[in-house]
Protein backbone atom coordinates (compact mmCIF):
# COMPACT_ATOMS: atom_id res chain seq x y z
CA UNK A 1 0.00 0.00 0.00
CA UNK A 2 2.88 2.32 0.80
CA UNK A 3 4.26 1.67 -2.65
CA UNK A 4 1.02 2.72 -4.23
CA UNK A 5 0.94 5.90 -2.16
CA UNK A 6 4.49 6.80 -3.20
CA UNK A 7 3.99 6.47 -6.91
CA UNK A 8 1.81 3.72 -8.30
CA UNK A 9 3.22 3.84 -11.79
CA UNK A 10 6.88 4.18 -11.04
CA UNK A 11 9.05 1.06 -10.94
CA UNK A 12 11.76 3.13 -9.27
CA UNK A 13 9.86 3.17 -5.99
CA UNK A 14 9.68 -0.61 -6.03
CA UNK A 15 13.38 -0.83 -6.73
CA UNK A 16 14.22 1.60 -3.95
CA UNK A 17 11.99 -0.02 -1.36
CA UNK A 18 13.01 -3.54 -2.42
CA UNK A 19 16.66 -2.59 -2.21
CA UNK A 20 16.27 -1.00 1.23
CA UNK A 21 14.33 -4.09 2.39
CA UNK A 22 16.98 -6.47 1.11
CA UNK A 23 19.73 -4.34 2.64
CA UNK A 24 18.07 -4.30 6.04
CA UNK A 25 17.45 -8.06 5.88
CA UNK A 26 20.99 -8.82 4.78
CA UNK A 27 22.64 -6.59 7.37
CA UNK A 28 20.29 -7.92 10.07
CA UNK A 29 21.19 -11.48 9.15
CA UNK A 30 24.93 -10.81 9.14
CA UNK A 31 24.79 -8.97 12.48
CA UNK A 32 22.71 -11.79 13.97
CA UNK A 33 25.22 -14.42 12.78
CA UNK A 34 28.18 -12.47 14.13
CA UNK A 35 26.59 -11.97 17.55
CA UNK A 36 25.36 -15.56 17.70
CA UNK A 37 28.83 -16.85 16.92
CA UNK A 38 30.43 -14.56 19.48
CA UNK A 39 28.00 -15.84 22.11
CA UNK A 40 28.72 -19.46 21.17
CA UNK A 41 32.48 -18.87 21.38
CA UNK A 42 32.15 -17.15 24.76
CA UNK A 43 29.97 -20.00 26.05
CA UNK A 44 32.46 -22.52 24.73
CA UNK A 45 35.28 -20.70 26.50
CA UNK A 46 33.39 -20.76 29.80
CA UNK A 47 32.68 -24.45 29.33
CA UNK A 48 36.33 -25.20 28.64
CA UNK A 49 37.37 -23.21 31.70
CA UNK A 50 34.92 -25.14 33.85
CA UNK A 51 36.13 -28.45 32.45
CA UNK A 52 39.74 -27.47 33.10
CA UNK A 53 38.87 -26.52 36.69
CA UNK A 54 37.08 -29.83 37.19
CA UNK A 55 40.09 -31.70 35.79
CA UNK A 56 42.40 -29.76 38.07
CA UNK A 57 40.28 -30.62 41.10
CA UNK A 58 40.31 -34.30 40.13
CA UNK A 59 44.06 -34.22 39.67
CA UNK A 60 44.52 -32.49 43.04
CA UNK A 61 42.32 -35.10 44.67
CA UNK A 62 44.28 -37.96 43.17
CA UNK A 63 47.62 -36.40 44.17
CA UNK A 64 46.37 -35.80 47.71
CA UNK A 65 45.12 -39.36 47.88
CA UNK A 66 48.50 -40.66 46.77
CA UNK A 67 50.19 -38.56 49.41
CA UNK A 68 47.80 -39.83 52.08
CA UNK A 69 48.46 -43.41 51.00
CA UNK A 70 52.23 -42.79 51.21
CA UNK A 71 51.85 -41.26 54.66
CA UNK A 72 49.79 -44.24 55.80
CA UNK A 73 52.42 -46.63 54.45
CA UNK A 74 55.22 -44.66 56.05
CA UNK A 75 53.35 -44.63 59.37
CA UNK A 76 52.69 -48.39 59.19
CA UNK A 77 56.34 -49.13 58.46
CA UNK A 78 57.74 -46.62 60.93
CA UNK A 79 55.37 -47.25 63.84
CA UNK A 80 54.81 -50.99 63.52
CA UNK A 81 57.53 -52.70 61.52
CA UNK A 82 60.34 -50.44 62.80
CA UNK A 83 59.89 -51.09 66.55
CA UNK A 84 59.28 -54.82 65.96
CA UNK A 85 62.53 -55.20 64.05
CA UNK A 86 64.38 -53.08 66.61
CA UNK A 87 63.12 -55.35 69.41
CA UNK A 88 64.15 -58.45 67.46
CA UNK A 89 67.60 -56.91 67.08
CA UNK A 90 67.77 -56.32 70.85
CA UNK A 91 66.99 -59.96 71.55
CA UNK A 92 69.63 -61.10 69.10
CA UNK A 93 72.14 -58.69 70.62
CA UNK A 94 71.46 -60.28 73.98
CA UNK A 95 72.81 -63.54 72.57
CA UNK A 96 76.18 -61.93 72.06
CA UNK A 97 76.30 -60.63 75.64
CA UNK A 98 74.64 -63.47 77.51
CA UNK A 99 76.36 -66.80 77.07
CA UNK A 100 73.88 -68.80 79.14
CA UNK A 101 72.40 -71.45 76.79
CA UNK A 102 68.81 -71.29 78.17
CA UNK A 103 68.64 -67.51 78.04
CA UNK A 104 70.09 -67.57 74.52
CA UNK A 105 67.43 -70.03 73.34
CA UNK A 106 64.71 -67.96 74.96
CA UNK A 107 65.87 -64.77 73.31
CA UNK A 108 66.19 -66.52 69.93
CA UNK A 109 62.64 -67.82 70.34
CA UNK A 110 61.41 -64.32 71.22
CA UNK A 111 63.23 -62.84 68.23
CA UNK A 112 61.62 -65.47 65.97
CA UNK A 113 58.18 -64.59 67.34
CA UNK A 114 58.76 -60.92 66.65
CA UNK A 115 60.07 -61.60 63.14
CA UNK A 116 56.96 -63.72 62.45
CA UNK A 117 54.79 -60.81 63.60
CA UNK A 118 56.74 -58.47 61.34
CA UNK A 119 56.28 -60.80 58.37
CA UNK A 120 52.56 -60.89 59.06
CA UNK A 121 52.47 -57.11 59.34
CA UNK A 122 54.31 -56.60 56.06
CA UNK A 123 52.01 -59.12 54.41
CA UNK A 124 49.01 -57.16 55.66
CA UNK A 125 50.48 -53.92 54.32
CA UNK A 126 51.18 -55.48 50.93
CA UNK A 127 47.67 -57.02 50.83
CA UNK A 128 46.09 -53.66 51.55
CA UNK A 129 48.11 -52.22 48.65
CA UNK A 130 47.14 -54.95 46.21
CA UNK A 131 44.82 -57.74 47.32
CA UNK A 132 46.29 -61.03 46.01
CA UNK A 133 42.80 -62.51 45.57
CA UNK A 134 41.99 -59.79 43.07
CA UNK A 135 45.06 -60.53 41.01
CA UNK A 136 44.71 -64.31 41.14
CA UNK A 137 40.97 -64.96 41.26
CA UNK A 138 39.28 -61.78 40.05
CA UNK A 139 36.92 -59.10 41.21
CA UNK A 140 34.20 -61.42 42.50
CA UNK A 141 36.53 -63.32 44.84
CA UNK A 142 38.26 -60.14 45.99
CA UNK A 143 34.93 -58.54 46.87
CA UNK A 144 33.76 -61.71 48.62
CA UNK A 145 36.99 -61.67 50.58
CA UNK A 146 36.58 -58.02 51.51
CA UNK A 147 32.94 -58.51 52.51
CA UNK A 148 33.77 -61.59 54.59
CA UNK A 149 36.20 -59.49 56.58
CA UNK A 150 33.62 -56.71 57.00
CA UNK A 151 30.86 -59.13 58.00
CA UNK A 152 33.30 -60.86 60.34
CA UNK A 153 33.67 -57.63 62.30
CA UNK A 154 29.99 -58.04 63.26
CA UNK A 155 28.89 -54.44 62.78
CA UNK A 156 27.46 -54.76 59.29
CA UNK A 157 26.31 -57.50 56.96
CA UNK A 158 28.03 -57.29 53.59
CA UNK A 159 27.40 -59.62 50.68
CA UNK A 160 27.96 -59.73 46.96
CA UNK A 161 26.53 -61.64 44.05
CA UNK A 162 27.85 -61.65 40.50
CA UNK A 163 25.23 -62.77 37.98
CA UNK A 164 27.17 -62.71 34.76
CA UNK A 165 30.90 -62.72 35.26
CA UNK A 166 32.14 -65.71 33.31
CA UNK A 167 34.83 -63.68 31.61
CA UNK A 168 36.97 -61.39 33.72
CA UNK A 169 37.53 -57.75 32.87
CA UNK A 170 41.08 -56.60 32.21
CA UNK A 171 43.16 -56.74 35.44
CA UNK A 172 43.73 -52.98 35.65
CA UNK A 173 40.02 -52.28 35.04
CA UNK A 174 39.15 -54.83 37.74
CA UNK A 175 41.53 -53.10 40.13
CA UNK A 176 39.97 -49.69 39.46
CA UNK A 177 36.43 -51.05 40.01
CA UNK A 178 37.62 -52.76 43.17
CA UNK A 179 39.09 -49.49 44.45
CA UNK A 180 35.88 -47.64 43.64
CA UNK A 181 33.78 -50.22 45.49
CA UNK A 182 36.27 -50.15 48.35
CA UNK A 183 35.92 -46.36 48.57
CA UNK A 184 32.12 -46.57 48.43
CA UNK A 185 32.08 -49.26 51.13
CA UNK A 186 34.45 -47.17 53.25
CA UNK A 187 32.11 -44.21 52.93
CA UNK A 188 29.14 -46.36 53.91
CA UNK A 189 30.99 -47.72 56.93
CA UNK A 190 32.09 -44.24 57.98
CA UNK A 191 29.02 -42.13 57.34
CA UNK A 192 25.87 -44.07 56.57
CA UNK A 193 25.14 -46.12 59.68
CA UNK A 194 23.83 -48.91 57.44
CA UNK A 195 23.07 -52.43 58.61
CA UNK A 196 23.76 -54.13 55.29
CA UNK A 197 25.61 -53.68 52.02
CA UNK A 198 24.73 -55.77 49.02
CA UNK A 199 26.61 -55.67 45.75
CA UNK A 200 25.27 -57.19 42.55
CA UNK A 201 26.78 -57.41 39.12
CA UNK A 202 25.16 -57.98 35.76
CA UNK A 203 25.64 -57.19 32.11
CA UNK A 204 23.40 -55.94 29.38
CA UNK A 205 24.86 -56.22 25.89
CA UNK A 206 28.25 -54.57 26.06
CA UNK A 207 27.37 -52.73 29.27
CA UNK A 208 28.73 -53.89 32.59
CA UNK A 209 26.86 -52.88 35.75
CA UNK A 210 27.80 -53.08 39.40
CA UNK A 211 25.06 -52.04 41.83
CA UNK A 212 25.57 -51.40 45.49
CA UNK A 213 22.59 -51.22 47.88
CA UNK A 214 22.62 -50.18 51.51
CA UNK A 215 20.01 -49.12 54.04
CA UNK A 216 21.80 -46.26 55.75
CA UNK A 217 22.07 -42.56 55.01
CA UNK A 218 23.22 -42.14 51.46
CA UNK A 219 23.80 -39.74 48.61
CA UNK A 220 21.67 -38.80 45.65
CA UNK A 221 23.09 -37.76 42.30
CA UNK A 222 22.59 -34.08 43.17
CA UNK A 223 24.53 -34.50 46.44
CA UNK A 224 27.31 -36.32 44.59
CA UNK A 225 27.64 -33.61 41.96
CA UNK A 226 27.58 -30.89 44.61
CA UNK A 227 30.28 -32.60 46.69
CA UNK A 228 32.30 -33.28 43.57
CA UNK A 229 32.38 -29.58 42.71
CA UNK A 230 33.16 -28.46 46.25
CA UNK A 231 36.66 -28.43 47.71
CA UNK A 232 35.80 -31.34 50.06
CA UNK A 233 34.74 -34.86 49.13
CA UNK A 234 38.21 -36.18 48.35
CA UNK A 235 37.02 -39.80 48.15
CA UNK A 236 34.20 -38.95 45.76
CA UNK A 237 36.55 -36.95 43.53
CA UNK A 238 38.84 -39.90 43.51
CA UNK A 239 35.96 -42.15 42.43
CA UNK A 240 35.20 -39.68 39.65
CA UNK A 241 38.80 -39.56 38.44
CA UNK A 242 39.07 -43.37 38.49
CA UNK A 243 35.83 -43.59 36.52
CA UNK A 244 37.08 -41.11 33.95
CA UNK A 245 39.99 -43.50 33.36
CA UNK A 246 37.48 -46.29 32.75
CA UNK A 247 35.20 -43.95 30.79
CA UNK A 248 32.37 -45.15 32.99
CA UNK A 249 29.49 -43.53 34.80
CA UNK A 250 28.25 -43.60 38.34
CA UNK A 251 24.70 -42.91 39.49
CA UNK A 252 23.62 -42.31 43.06
CA UNK A 253 19.90 -42.72 43.71
CA UNK A 254 17.31 -43.66 46.25
CA UNK A 255 15.54 -46.96 45.69
CA UNK A 256 11.94 -47.01 44.41
CA UNK A 257 10.80 -48.05 47.88
CA UNK A 258 12.63 -44.99 49.32
CA UNK A 259 14.22 -47.34 51.89
CA UNK A 260 17.54 -48.13 50.28
CA UNK A 261 20.20 -46.13 48.57
CA UNK A 262 21.55 -47.46 45.33
CA UNK A 263 24.86 -46.73 43.59
CA UNK A 264 25.24 -47.95 40.04
CA UNK A 265 28.57 -48.13 38.26
CA UNK A 266 28.20 -48.46 34.51
CA UNK A 267 31.01 -49.40 32.16
CA UNK A 268 31.27 -50.24 28.52
CA UNK A 269 33.04 -53.53 27.95
CA UNK A 270 36.12 -53.46 25.79
CA UNK A 271 36.59 -55.55 22.67
CA UNK A 272 38.22 -58.57 24.35
CA UNK A 273 35.86 -58.54 27.30
CA UNK A 274 32.64 -59.09 25.38
CA UNK A 275 31.43 -62.66 25.44
CA UNK A 276 31.04 -64.31 22.06
Amino acid sequence: MILLEVNPTSQAAYVLLGTIGMLVLTIGLIVFIIFHQRRVIRFQGTLQKMEAEQQKMLLDASIRLQEEERQRLAADLHDDAGPLLATARLYLNENLVNLDKTTQLQSIYNAKQIIDDTIQLIRNISHSLMPPTLKNFGLESALNDLFQKITGSGSINASCRFHDYRERLEPNRELIIFRIIQELVNNILKHSNASFIHVTQNTNGNKFFVRLHHDGRGLTQADFEKLNKSSGGLGLKNIQSRLSVLQGNIYFEKDMSQTYYKVTIELTKEEGEILG
Binding site: S10, Q11, A12, V15, M22, T26, I30, I33, I34, Q37
Partner: protein, 114 residues
Protein backbone atom coordinates in the same frame (compact mmCIF):
# COMPACT_ATOMS: atom_id res chain seq x y z
CA UNK B 1 25.53 6.20 -21.52
CA UNK B 2 27.39 3.06 -22.37
CA UNK B 3 26.07 1.50 -19.17
CA UNK B 4 22.51 2.41 -19.96
CA UNK B 5 22.71 0.92 -23.42
CA UNK B 6 24.31 -2.14 -21.99
CA UNK B 7 21.62 -2.59 -19.32
CA UNK B 8 18.92 -2.61 -21.94
CA UNK B 9 20.45 -5.76 -23.33
CA UNK B 10 20.62 -7.46 -19.92
CA UNK B 11 18.61 -10.63 -19.54
CA UNK B 12 16.65 -9.95 -16.40
CA UNK B 13 15.52 -13.53 -15.86
CA UNK B 14 18.99 -15.06 -16.00
CA UNK B 15 20.24 -12.38 -13.59
CA UNK B 16 17.35 -13.21 -11.28
CA UNK B 17 18.27 -16.92 -11.37
CA UNK B 18 21.96 -16.25 -10.93
CA UNK B 19 21.38 -13.89 -7.98
CA UNK B 20 19.02 -16.36 -6.35
CA UNK B 21 21.50 -19.22 -6.67
CA UNK B 22 24.41 -17.22 -5.31
CA UNK B 23 22.29 -15.77 -2.47
CA UNK B 24 21.13 -19.27 -1.46
CA UNK B 25 24.74 -20.53 -1.57
CA UNK B 26 25.89 -17.57 0.55
CA UNK B 27 23.07 -18.23 3.01
CA UNK B 28 24.15 -21.88 3.18
CA UNK B 29 27.74 -20.79 3.92
CA UNK B 30 26.54 -18.48 6.70
CA UNK B 31 24.32 -21.26 8.11
CA UNK B 32 27.31 -23.63 8.11
CA UNK B 33 29.38 -21.03 9.94
CA UNK B 34 26.63 -20.65 12.49
CA UNK B 35 26.25 -24.36 13.20
CA UNK B 36 29.96 -25.17 13.21
CA UNK B 37 31.48 -24.54 16.60
CA UNK B 38 34.90 -23.03 16.18
CA UNK B 39 37.11 -20.93 18.42
CA UNK B 40 37.83 -18.53 15.54
CA UNK B 41 35.56 -15.53 15.12
CA UNK B 42 33.69 -15.59 11.83
CA UNK B 43 34.99 -12.14 10.87
CA UNK B 44 38.59 -13.26 11.28
CA UNK B 45 38.24 -15.36 8.12
CA UNK B 46 38.74 -13.70 4.76
CA UNK B 47 36.13 -15.87 3.01
CA UNK B 48 33.45 -14.44 5.30
CA UNK B 49 34.11 -10.93 3.98
CA UNK B 50 34.19 -12.15 0.37
CA UNK B 51 30.89 -14.00 0.84
CA UNK B 52 29.10 -11.09 2.52
CA UNK B 53 30.47 -8.79 -0.21
CA UNK B 54 28.87 -10.95 -2.90
CA UNK B 55 25.76 -11.48 -0.78
CA UNK B 56 25.24 -7.77 -0.10
CA UNK B 57 25.86 -6.82 -3.73
CA UNK B 58 23.46 -9.38 -5.15
CA UNK B 59 20.79 -8.80 -2.51
CA UNK B 60 21.05 -5.02 -2.90
CA UNK B 61 20.87 -5.01 -6.71
CA UNK B 62 18.34 -7.85 -6.88
CA UNK B 63 15.28 -5.64 -7.37
CA UNK B 64 17.15 -3.24 -9.63
CA UNK B 65 18.06 -5.96 -12.13
CA UNK B 66 14.75 -7.82 -11.87
CA UNK B 67 12.69 -4.71 -12.58
CA UNK B 68 15.12 -3.25 -15.12
CA UNK B 69 13.13 -4.27 -18.25
CA UNK B 70 10.05 -2.44 -16.95
CA UNK B 71 11.86 0.82 -16.24
CA UNK B 72 12.11 3.82 -18.51
CA UNK B 73 15.54 5.18 -19.48
CA UNK B 74 15.22 8.07 -17.08
CA UNK B 75 14.29 5.75 -14.20
CA UNK B 76 17.16 3.42 -15.03
CA UNK B 77 19.59 6.32 -15.04
CA UNK B 78 18.26 7.56 -11.71
CA UNK B 79 18.49 4.14 -10.08
CA UNK B 80 21.74 2.97 -11.59
CA UNK B 81 23.55 4.62 -8.67
CA UNK B 82 22.28 1.70 -6.53
CA UNK B 83 24.45 -0.63 -8.60
CA UNK B 84 27.47 1.67 -8.16
CA UNK B 85 26.85 1.98 -4.43
CA UNK B 86 26.66 -1.75 -3.86
CA UNK B 87 29.58 -2.35 -6.19
CA UNK B 88 31.72 0.01 -4.10
CA UNK B 89 30.48 -1.64 -0.89
CA UNK B 90 31.31 -5.08 -2.31
CA UNK B 91 34.81 -3.94 -3.29
CA UNK B 92 35.39 -2.47 0.18
CA UNK B 93 34.32 -5.78 1.75
CA UNK B 94 36.60 -7.68 -0.66
CA UNK B 95 39.43 -5.35 0.34
CA UNK B 96 38.81 -6.08 4.03
CA UNK B 97 38.71 -9.80 3.16
CA UNK B 98 42.12 -9.57 1.49
CA UNK B 99 43.55 -7.68 4.47
CA UNK B 100 42.25 -10.05 7.16
CA UNK B 101 44.88 -12.42 8.47
CA UNK B 102 43.52 -15.74 9.70
CA UNK B 103 43.74 -15.99 13.52
CA UNK B 104 45.66 -19.02 14.78
CA UNK B 105 43.29 -21.66 16.12
CA UNK B 106 43.51 -22.56 19.82
CA UNK B 107 42.79 -26.14 18.94
CA UNK B 108 43.14 -27.70 15.55
CA UNK B 109 39.77 -29.11 14.72
CA UNK B 110 36.48 -27.42 15.04
CA UNK B 111 33.64 -29.59 16.22
CA UNK B 112 30.29 -29.85 14.61
CA UNK B 113 27.63 -28.55 16.98
CA UNK B 114 25.00 -31.06 17.99
Amino acid sequence: MYFLDFTKRLDSFSIFLESLLVIVTSLYYLYEQMTTVSDKFIYSQSQFWIVIGIFLYLAGTFFLFVLLPNMSDAETMNNWSINWLFNILKNILFFIGFLVKPAPAAYADSVKAR
